[in-house]
Each structure stands twice: as C-alpha cells, then as structure tokens.
Homo-oligomer: 196 residues x 2
Amino acid sequence: MAWDTEKTKRLLLDAAVEEFAASGFQGARVDRIAKSAGVNKERIYQYFGNKEQLFATVLDCQLKELAGAVPLTPEAAADLPEHVGRIYDYHVTHPHFARLLHWEALELGGDCELPAEEERTLHYLAKVDSILQAQQAGEVDPRLDARVLMLAVVHLAQMWSALPQVVKMLMSGSAADTPEARRAAVVALAAKMVAP
Amino acid sequence: MAWDTEKTKRLLLDAAVEEFAASGFQGARVDRIAKSAGVNKERIYQYFGNKEQLFATVLDCQLKELAGAVPLTPEAAADLPEHVGRIYDYHVTHPHFARLLHWEALELGGDCELPAEEERTLHYLAKVDSILQAQQAGEVDPRLDARVLMLAVVHLAQMWSALPQVVKMLMSGSAADTPEARRAAVVALAAKMVAP
DNA sequence: ACTATCTCCAACTGCTTGGTTGGAATCATG
DNA sequence: CATGATTCCAACCAAGCAGTTGGAGATAGT
C-alpha cells in the first residue's frame, strides 16, 4: 500500500483541533491525538516538531479561518445585527473555534506574538472599515467608535457559548430557551446597540 | 514560636488563587503554589485534600465573591449602564476573577455540577429580579428578556478583558484607548441596549 | 514534666507524559 | 533489482508531576 503522508497529516491536524479545543494546550495529551487519529505518536514530531508547534499550527489554521469565516463586507455591515446572527450561527455549528479562541486568550494572553497575527489583524481591520462605511452611510450610529463596535459584535455573537456555566445558572429550566430564541435575542440586542 | 494554621491556610489559598488564575487547573503546579506561599507542599494535602479539591475551594470562594461583588439591587438596576461600568471597574481591579470564570467555563463547562452552584444561581436570579423591577418601572426596555439582558450585561462588562488578543489586534496603537474611554464605551453601549 | 496530639518539612515514590530511537516496511530511481 | 530515501511503528527514556512518609519540633492537657 502506498504512503499517503498528506492524509496522515490531515488526520493528525483534525484530531489535534479536537483535542486542543477540548482540553487546551496544557490539558491536551499527545498520545490521545495520535491515538484518535489512528497514527503513531512519533509522526507528530516528524511532521510538526513538537507539541507547542503543533498547537501553534492548529491555532494558526483555525483562527485564520475563524476571522475570515463570516466575511463582513461593506454590504454586510449595512445590516450589522443580521451579521451578528450569522456569527452566532457559525459558533453553533463550529463550537470548538470559540473554545480555541478562549484557550488562546487564557494561555497566551495579549502580551506575546500571536499565531497568524498580521493576517488576523488585517481581517479585523477590514471589518472595522466596513463598519466605518456603514456609519458614513447612516446605517450605523456614527457616535460609536467602529473598533469598539466590532469588539462588541464579537462578544455579543458568542454570548451564549463563552460562559456556559453562567448561561446554565441563568437559564435553568426555561422552556422558551431555544436556539432560535437565542439567535433572535442577540440580533435584537445588536440592533438596539447600532441603531443611529 | 506558636503555630498559626489559619494564616498558613490563607497564604496557601491566596497563592492558589494566583496560580489557578494564571494557569488554570491543568497548568497549575502544586509545588509552585506551595513555594510562592512559602509553605511546604504537604500542607496542601493536609488542609485541602488534593489539587482538585483545592481548585474547587478556590473557585467556590472566589466565584461566590464575584457573583456578589457588585450587588445589583433594584435601585442599582434603575441605572443599568452605570452598573455595567461598575462591573467593568471590578474587572480592572480584580483581573484574576474573570480568568477563573473563563477557566471554569473551559475546564468544567456547563455540563457538570458547579462549585457553589446554588448560591451563585440565587445571586444571578436576584439580579434578574432587579432588572424585572426596573422594566416594570419603565427604566429598562420591557421587550427584552430580563435573563438575556443580565447575560448581555455580564458580557459587555468583560468585553475588554475576556479576549485580550482580539483587543490587541483591534486596538493596536490607538492613543485614545484609555481605561476611562473603555469604561465610557461599555457604559454607552449598555445605555443604548437597555433604553426603553 | 510526661505524653498524646498537632504542625511542619525534606526526601521519597510511582506514574504520567513529552519526546527519542533503532529498525522494519515501502517507495522512487537508475 | 539494487540502493538510498522516506514512512511507519513498538519500545524505550528522562523529566516532571501529584501525592506520601517518617520523623522532628511545638503545644496543650493532666
């Protein structure tokens, strides 16, 4: 049987995404990644160097994707609340992305060089620019700083996934608490926030 | 010299708070806690059982405190934006509390029994009640679900501390980005959100 | 002052884990 | 098909870690 090193690499990366999203860097076990990928552990060191570099690779790929996943074009910025809704949808279908983002926040913090920092910064700044245009077009309250607004959008959109334990304590046993209601709630909140 | 076991306990707990806030459960080292408290490691096992129970104790104390730190009385709920400002202040002066909250989110999640769950739930529900009263008094938009509003308040208030790397990428090199401006921004956002 | 009990600590144990190695199987090339 | 490079893997290693132990110093009751 022929070797398929690309496939092995991909298997490892996918397994690593799962493991790191679930347990973070410190909590992740290299053995588990290898085992769940059905690949020998040693491959990780040949392909990716070591655990730290594997983590960096995972963050690099996934967070790049996260920043660009729901594009905020100038047209999309005209309806910022709906955009928040779409990010919310993205978090629902890709729960490990938000987790990686938070692991990055806690384990790396804002003090050191980040994976894919330049590229992600550009992504964010492009979005800020779209918001600026929407402000000039009168579709978004021009009194708010566009960057602050962008940050608020990010946080509103992940309101339901960032602190599940708080959600649990607040929402325990509410029949009306459905995914659709949650989406509608963040969209409504965003709408009030950006209204001119 | 007389023993002062209470003091040793407190030294250990304080050191544990620092260590767990900085590194989470998996990342925290029992040796480091003991060393930074200036106490022998074995004391931890005598006083707190094991690492896990120490972590639970730390979360229990600190998160109880966090939930009750900035009380949301019915009167305070009348000016919800200013309340958000006060929570923001609290996060600025107690940065490890928010970190513990996020470590709890990532490492425990919403699926298992939480430390001090009942007490914290009561804290939160009391706050929701205050918001409900403010809504009836016409000081807060009555169309929004009070619990959702509470969740949004929590998230807005920690907008600047939860994802420092995103803040960094968004705000890099902005002279106008001061603590006062940040506070004013979250207060303004909250004001628009809750306005009837 | 004697003894039982509590507080403290240095050194130790055993397991987990990141990382390595030596060699077998597979492939590409001349 | 011979040779050298590459992919794969089981077993191994050393370090770091949570948790333990045995005994020394301090205290309180009698």
